[in-house]
């Protein structure tokens, strides 16, 4: 095979994998949007918060130690134990449920029936809030996250594909972490799709998103739905946090992955769970190929905007994204 084609193939493969990682974040957005029409900007910070909490628990860090030390003049930092990864993940998930409850109790409950943009803003407020709390709780330093996921290029694949190309070709490169992410994402998407399509709660979710008041009037408990959905979104955030955190360490910038997920959402449609995956794949491949082939011509570093422009072009033809619910326009 000609080299150029091989590389294109490799880039495509890696793009797909990167896309899956975006989708993991996008999924959280979709869930909440579907369930309440809320565009949850805090999703990225939730991932950060979840990852921070996970590392903190795993390493037996004392929450708010910095604050406590500053106030009481103490010198505590660690409990002196470490917690196994699985247990830590479960504990973190529990924390996310508490968080979901708090969000409902202190924010959403008071904003029933408000315009979308107000709810959106509230989630930005929430993002600030959680970022601050996360820092206070666990400190602002970079943390290494290790729950035992494999990392690094798959040597097996490299060796078995090296024959495809000529001398300079080492075989295909794929990060093993990405493979794990793909599997996890597939499981998540399938189970979430089943949940939202075939359960009573799934239907209630969509009803709530359409009209809060009417949902209340037929007896759907917004409170339950929201706690449920935010808990699931919290769990998805945890998964995303684990993947991204393993990749780049746990730190503030983790929250910025939300920005990578937005074009994915647009493209897939805000309300579609499979859309999040398909959108992610398209964006992942698109931006990688563009950066690879066109990037050098225009000076590179196109990835930040290319995804958005691609999604924008898509939207001009399909304003609700690929799989989004059609926007109802009637008088």
């Amino acid at each position: 095979m000609p080299d150029q084609l091989l590389y294109a193939l490799e880039v495509t493969l890696n793009g797909l994998m990167a896309g899956v990682l975006y989708s993991l974040v996008a999924l959280g957005f979709v869930l909440i949007f579907k369930a309440s029409g809320i565009f949850n900007y805090a999703q990225g910070v939730m991932a950060l918060f979840a990852a921070l909490t996970l590392v903190g628990i795993q390493e037996g860090q004392v929450p708010f130690s910095h604050l406590i030390n500053a106030i009481f003049g103490t010198e505590i930092h660690h409990f002196g134990w470490t917690v196994p990864a699985i247990l830590a993940i479960m504990l973190t998930a529990a924390v996310m449920v508490v968080f979901a409850w708090a969000v409902e109790r202190f924010v959403l409950k008071h904003l029933v029936n408000q315009p979308d943009i107000i709810l959106f803003m509230a989630t930005i407020g929430l993002a600030y809030f959680m970022e601050g709390v996360g820092d206070l709780m666990w400190g602002a330093d970079i943390k290494k996250l290790d729950v035992g996921l494999p990392q690094g290029g798959s040597i097996w694949l490299e060796e078995n594909t090296a024959w495809l190309g000529g001398d300079g070709f080492y075989g295909f490169f794929i990060d093993r972490l990405d493979i794990v992410a793909t599997v996890v994402a597939a499981i998540l998407v399938i189970s979430l799709t089943l949940f939202s399509q075939y359960s009573k709660q799934g239907r209630a979710l969509r009803a709530v998103a359409d009209d809060h008041q009417a949902a209340l009037s037929v007896g759907i408990s917004l409170r339950f739905i929201w706690v449920l959905v935010w808990s699931i979104a919290g769990f998805v955030a945890l998964v995303a946090g684990i993947m991204w955190g393993t990749k780049s360490g746990v730190q503030f910038s983790l929250s910025l992955i939300a920005l990578k997920a937005l074009p994915v959402l647009m493209l897939g449609g805000f309300t579609s769970i499979p859309g999040a995956i398909v959108g992610g794949l398209i964006i992942g491949v698109g931006e990688k190929l563009f950066e690879f082939f066109i990037g050098p011509m225009v000076g590179g570093a196109t990835e930040n905007w290319f995804a958005y422009v691609l999604a924008l072009l898509f939207l001009v033809f399909r304003p609700q994204g690929l799989f989004g619910e059609k926007i109802i326009e009637r008088v």
Binding site: Y7, E10, V11, N14, G15, M17, A18, L21, H66, N69, G73, E75, H77, D135, A140, D141, I142, K143, K144, L145, D146, Q151, G152, G153, G168, Y170, F173, D175, W244, K247, S248, G249, Q251, F252, S253, L254, L256, I257, K260, E287, K288, E291, F292, G295, G299, G300, A301, T302, E303, N304
Partner: protein, 406 residues
């Protein structure tokens, strides 16, 4: 009282580097107060102001602290530096941008109030090339170097220098930008994997550092051919990648670790007394030492100023004179308990950039520490000076500045 405002960033995306630096900076002055009763009998004070690496907050901090008798600013961010260059010049307060900021500020003829000794970005680039030359036995002819850089003013700094040096040494330079924040670098690293440059020079910041080092490990790039600038070579950058980071190199202009007598003093006078700015864990880390070094240079400049002007409570203008006459010799560093902690520094009216020296350090993942593998290397002044002259002349022309020092 001597006031050294510290524009720190303990929050935001770059906090990991900002915290130890600010701690080191503050701790050194605390040490001077506790051990020596200040500098020349005058106590020091380090009011801290959080910038979160944000330009506007930086301006606010500057305005808030400048009236307070501030002697010197170290804004620690290229953005804020550019912001403050005209402001400090107008207000008459010296600014020291150690290893960052506007490179051409090394030309004291144009930049009266700005200093960037002991080295600047271009020095670092040149030192990296020199190291590569060493590794290749003196010639880079026909070799290829890729520059992986943060797509911002900061990241673009070394490009001119590396291009000039490419002409001189005959290597090919490939430019690979990464947009901020740099969480996803797959395509860049696939490109590197495909083009197999002999060296990857690295100008990253924040999360970009960790991701790049992780990705380099992932594609099994030979880590000792992967060399970062001094802002991409601290502990938080390499730790997340674990063993994969072993062998990664970066430049630096201070020593690392706590194997210097001064750390004993710090322990006794500062940490043990509970006066440390941080939790006392970061002593010896790259950024901590760098902060301490910055404080040491500032303190030495104060001494010089006190000496020149014969007053202990100097003002900002006198501080500037002290900086311009600063001389930190190996002997002096020995005296300070920091033998060979940094290069010898000698500042003059024309040269605000100091010697332009730096060393190469390498990460030892098993020991979890940085190891200096070279001595201080002198950058290629010939090339760099020319670039500095060119850029500063342009600035002077743009802003109607008369050359001084003549």
């Amino acid at each position: 009282e001597l006031v050294f405002p510290s524009l720190s960033y303990r929050t935001g995306p770059f906090a990991a580097g900002g915290v130890p630096f600010a701690d080191g900076y503050a701790d050194y002055f605390t040490l001077l107060n506790e051990r020596d009763g200040g500098i020349g009998g005058e106590l020091t004070r380090v009011p801290e102001c959080e910038t979160a690496y944000n330009t506007e907050k930086g301006v606010e901090c500057y305005e808030a602290t400048k009236g307070d008798g501030a002697l010197i600013y170290q804004p620690l961010s290229t953005g804020i530096t550019y912001q403050l260059i005209p402001k400090v010049s107008a207000d008459g307060i010296p600014m020291h941008t150690m290893g960052y900021g506007r490179t051409s500020a090394a030309n004291g003829k144009v930049f009266e109030w700005i200093f960037n000794y002991p080295g600047n970005y271009w020095d670092s680039a040149s030192i990296m090339v020199k190291h590569a030359l060493d590794m290749e036995g003196g010639s880079l002819e026909g070799k290829s170097i890729a520059l992986l850089y943060h797509n911002s003013a900061y990241g673009k700094e070394p490009i001119r220098t590396l291009e000039e040096l490419a002409e001189k040494h005959g290597y090919n330079l490939t430019l690979i930008p990464v947009d901020s924040p740099g969480q996803e670098q797959k395509s860049q690293w696939l490109q590197i994997r495909r083009e197999k440059p002999d060296y990857v020079f690295f100008w990253g910041w924040g999360v970009m550092n960790q991701v790049a080092i992780q990705e380099a490990a992932n594609i099994r790039y030979p880590m000792d051919h992967f060399i970062g600038v001094w802002w991409s070579g601290a502990e938080p950058d390499v730790l997340p990648a674990g063993d994969g980071a072993d062998g990664y190199k970066s430049t630096n202009f201070t020593g690392t670790g706590t194997d210097y007598p001064i750390f004993d003093d710090l322990q006794t006078y500062v940490v043990d007394k509970g006066l440390a700015a941080g939790d006392g864990q970061s002593l010896g880390q790259v950024q901590y030492n760098r902060g301490m070094y910055a404080a040491m240079l500032a303190a030495e400049a104060v001494r010089k100023a006190q000496e020149i002007h014969g007053v202990s409570a100097i003002n900002a203008a006198q501080m500037r004179d002290g900086m311009e006459a600063l001389e930190v010799t190996a002997a002096r560093m020995e005296e300070l308990g920091m033998p060979n902690f940094g290069p010898e520094v000698n500042v003059t009216c024309e040269n605000h950039g100091g010697p332009g020296m730096g060393l190469i350090q390498q990460w030892d993942a098993s020991a979890q520490k940085w190891v200096a593998i070279t001595d201080y290397i002198q950058s290629d002044r010939e090339v760099i000076n020319e670039l500095i002259m060119e850029d500063s002349a342009a600035y002077a022309a743009e802003n109607g500045i008369e050359e001084r020092c003549n």
